[in-house]
């Protein structure tokens, strides 16, 4: 690991000033991904600015009845929070499905959104990787890609975003608030992650040196009936090979509103807007659910080793929506 200086930021302004003055610096929050990547030589910061002491660890209601989640709230505190569990249960479930109890105690909401892909070529500096070293190539397309993207990838990168939390946040229209030396800004999560295209190394629309300060959730009555479901290669403590967050509002057997987002299928949490559009106003039935998810997955471009993800996602989403419809009918 490269040597680095360490500063514990005392306030948000001081933190962004340090990053503004030193492009080689990185913010350190829980460190569960960054420290690991530093050990692997993938990240080589000259300075760490520790943001864990900043007063960004609160969860508060907003004036419109939504929630503002501070960027350094830990995954554990988020998942344990009564308001989250009551009004956005799929978000609590998604967080609890990720990592382990130890890692959830360390990891933060802001860090979760900025974590990097676990693509084995990205995390091993012996291999080329367009995300790590732009222009060096992507061995995944013709190599090991059984857990790579089926949606929204490009010839330059087929890696997936590993977050569970982000999938639920995408379904619930979260927005990311940040601070820079020039002032504050906000990005809807829908615009937060950039399309892969020719620049897989540029992952978010955050300005250089920006510090995420909070994630806001607008009020979403539909989220009260929501679930997160994750498929992985062992029963716990593993990244998803496919996941989905769904929320359903059904009355008189008709879908009034639906929220749907997929995980582990794209470079970002994948909001399934096509499926939502197809399903809204339709009967809450298996046929309609299948038609909706098939409409979303029509855009899928599978590789030889990850083609299984298309039927996996189809079955997962069908099961998830069926469960929610049964719960709505109770």
């Amino acid at each position: 690991m490269k040597e680095f200086t360490y500063e514990r930021a005392q306030d948000v302004g001081g933190a962004v000033a340090l990053l503004d003055a030193d492009p080689q610096a990185r913010y350190l929050a829980g460190g569960t991904n960054l420290v690991d990547l530093m050990k692997a030589g993938v990240e080589r910061p000259g300075q760490l600015v520790d943001v864990r002491a900043l007063p960004l660890d609160r969860i508060e209601t907003t004036d419109d009845g939504g929630l503002r989640i501070g960027a350094t709230v830990t995954n554990s505190d988020l998942a344990a929070h009564p308001h989250i569990r009551r009004h956005y249960p799929a978000l609590a479930q998604a967080v609890l499905e990720g990592a382990s109890g130890q890692l959830r105690n360390m990891a933060t909401v802001g860090g979760n959104l900025l974590q990097r892909t676990r693509c084995a070529y990205f995390t091993d500096t012996a291999f080329p990787c367009n995300k790590r070293t732009p222009g060096s190539g992507c061995p995944a397309r013709t190599g090991e890609h059984h857990n790579h993207a089926i949606l929204g990838a490009s010839e330059h990168c087929v890696a997936v975003h590993p977050s569970d939390m982000g999938v639920a946040l995408a379904a619930f229209d979260a927005a990311v608030t940040y601070e820079t030396a020039e002032g504050a800004g906000e990005l809807p999560l829908a615009d937060f992650y950039l399309p892969v295209g020719e620049t897989p190394h540029v992952e978010t629309a955050l300005p250089p040196g920006a510090l995420i300060t909070s994630v806001t959730l607008p009020p979403a009555p539909v989220a009260a009936l929501s679930r997160y479901r994750k498929v992985r290669e062992r029963a716990s403590y593993a990244f998803a090979i496919g996941s989905a967050a769904a929320a359903l509002d059904v009355s008189d057997g008709v879908v009034r509103e639906v929220r749907l987002a997929f995980g582990a299928v794209a470079s970002r949490p994948w909001r399934a807007r096509t499926a939502e559009r197809v399903l809204t106003g339709q009967p809450a039935s298996g046929d309609a659910f299948t038609e909706a998810v098939d409409a979303e997955l029509a855009a899928a471009e599978a590789l030889p080793l990850n083609a299984y993800k298309v039927p996996l996602m189809r079955n997962l989403v069908l099961a998830l929506l069926t469960e929610l419809a049964e719960e709505a009918a109770r």
Binding site: M1, E3, F4, T5, Y6, R8, L28, G31, T32, V35, D36, M38, K39, Q47, L48, D50, R52, A53, D57, R58, I59, E60, T61, L67, V73, T74, S76, D77, A79, A80, H81, P82, H83, R85, R86, H87, P89, A92, Q93, L96, E97, A99, S100, G101, Q102, L103, N105, M106, A235, S236, Y237
Partner: protein, 193 residues
């Protein structure tokens, strides 16, 4: 002068203060083992995947291999060496002995530190991925074998002593059930529902 890449820090471990200068790259795990000679905490994968290095920081379980020592600050660290009360083993330790919750023993300090936290997290009403209904109205989940397996899943045991580990955690939970568990939740503003 080149900017400092090492700092003098004070670590409070098992109630004892230690002042030492650490290279910023030093993990809490390496500081405990190599600098403070507290070798009860084990290094397994060194990349946050096995849980052998689990300790409590500020009362919460963490993997010490991904925790930089310089970033611990003034939080209390509890390692396996600080779990027993003198010669009296903690009920979790006793349960692992009684029920053979290990074979080679390498993962055991991490398992025990993790189990201590599991009991507190459960007592505080935290749900897990095994909890059918996470809504607070559903009440705290019973600590079933399935709940224990899920909550302990961050600690791997390559001997495969899981069956006994689950029993040991269940026994310890029964024995400590009457105690008032320390609240591991940080203060967060509870919004009106």
């Amino acid at each position: 002068m080149a900017p400092a890449t090492a700092s003098a820090i004070t670590l409070t471990v098992n109630g004892e203060k230690h002042t030492l200068t650490v290279d910023h790259r030093t993990t809490l795990l390496d500081a405990l083992r190599e600098r403070l000679q507290l070798t009860g905490t084990k290094k397994g994968c060194d990349q946050g995947q096995c849980g052998a290095c689990t300790v409590l920081v500020g009362g919460r379980r963490v993997v010490s291999c991904l925790q930089l020592a310089v970033a611990v600050g003034d939080e209390d660290v509890t390692t396996i060496e600080g779990v027993a009360d003198g010669e009296h083993l903690h009920p979790v330790q006793q349960a692992f002995l009684d029920l053979d919750g290990f074979q080679c023993g390498y993962c055991t300090p991490g398992q025990i530190c993790s189990a201590l936290a599991v009991l507190e997290e459960h007592a505080a009403g935290w749900p897990s991925a095994a909890t059918e209904d996470v809504r607070p109205e559903a009440g705290p989940p019973a600590l079933t074998p399935q709940e224990i397996r899920e909550r302990m899943s961050g600690n791997l045991c390559r001997c495969g002593a899981y069956v006994s580990i689950v029993q040991a955690v269940a026994q310890a939970a029964e024995q400590t059930g009457g105690r008032t568990a320390e609240e591991p939740q940080k203060e967060t503003k509870e919004p009106a529902a």
